[in-house]
């Protein structure tokens, strides 16, 4: 995975969390896994396709997702209920949108999809063997979240 793509993804994630959730994340070193998948209850994914194609995915546990949603909407995390999937989809959408803007500025035109969000406690996500992946871990207080980038055909 090219370093500048990871840098774009990390920068986009920081900007979205700081602006929309008032939350400063702490970046941890990226992981380039072959089979590793983060433990997550909420997985929000946005695809992008064009001069470069792939997926941007936001992974979090229930507690982190409720905290993020509460921060976005100006409510207590404990009050968050049905708002959470849509809010996490919007966070992924904004991260992917900022990431896409940086790609377009580099001459890699692409469009993004609408977000899809999976919520549960017993599921896993698998990718084809031709996909190149990186996972960027972030600490948000006592919680850990991941933002993943999967590229196809590059």
């Amino acid at each position: 995975m090219k370093d500048h793509l990871i840098a774009h993804l990390v920068a986009a994630t920081h900007e979205v969390f700081e602006t929309m959730a008032g939350t400063t994340l702490r970046s941890c070193p990226p992981i380039e896994p072959s089979a590793f998948a983060p433990m997550a209850n909420v997985v929000a994914t946005v695809g992008f396709a064009g001069g470069i194609s792939g997926l941007v995915t936001l992974y979090s546990g229930f507690a982190a997702a409720r905290a993020i949603t509460g921060a976005m909407l100006g409510m207590e995390a404990a009050e968050v209920n049905g708002e959470m999937p849509d809010a996490m989809g919007e966070m992924a959408n904004m991260i992917a949108g900022l990431f896409r803007s940086k790609l377009v500025a580099e001459g890699l035109p692409c469009d993004i999809s609408i977000p899809t969000v999976t919520v549960g406690s017993d599921f896993s996500t698998r990718y084809g063997s031709e996909v190149t992946r990186v996972l960027c871990p972030f600490e948000m207080g006592n919680e850990e979240i991941f933002v993943g980038l999967a590229l196809t055909g590059n």
Binding site: M72, L73, E83, G89, E90, M94, L98, V104, I114
Partner: protein
């Protein structure tokens, strides 16, 4: 000033409405897609539209083009809030009839400045 917020995401509508209320705007109605927004425009007083781009059924661009076909709404200020921030996106939005553009993520200050820009000279503008 009466505002119409159009977004398929209930989260984004709530964030935008929270932001608008912080900025002192309280006359706000909402729609979850372009078709619903057209219905609201026909029934309610609206001085400023704030719309998303990517929406099912009718995109923000299609909605804006539809609004601009009405002579009475040729001058209605329209602000687009979206992640589509590339030069070509902005050109497409302006060609469709959008007056100004807010790129997500955005701060309340950015929203205030954009609203002021599109409502300058509009009676009752913020």
């Amino acid at each position: 000033m009466h505002l119409l917020v159009v977004d398929d995401s209930s989260t984004m509508r709530r964030i935008i409405i929270n932001t608008l209320k912080k900025l002192g705007h309280n006359e706000i109605i909402e729609a979850s897609n372009g078709r619903e927004a057209i219905d609201r425009l026909a029934k309610d007083r609206v001085d400023l539209v704030i719309t998303d781009w990517n929406m099912p059924e009718m995109s923000g661009i299609e909605f804006v083009r539809s609004v601009r076909t009405s002579r009475s709404r040729e001058q209605l200020p329209i602000l687009m809030v979206t992640t589509n921030a590339a030069h070509d996106d902005i050109v497409a939005a302006v060609e469709a009839g959008v007056n100004n553009y807010v790129v997500k993520p955005f701060t309340p200050e950015t929203m205030r400045e954009k609203i002021q820009a599109v409502t300058a000279g509009v009676e009752g503008g913020a």
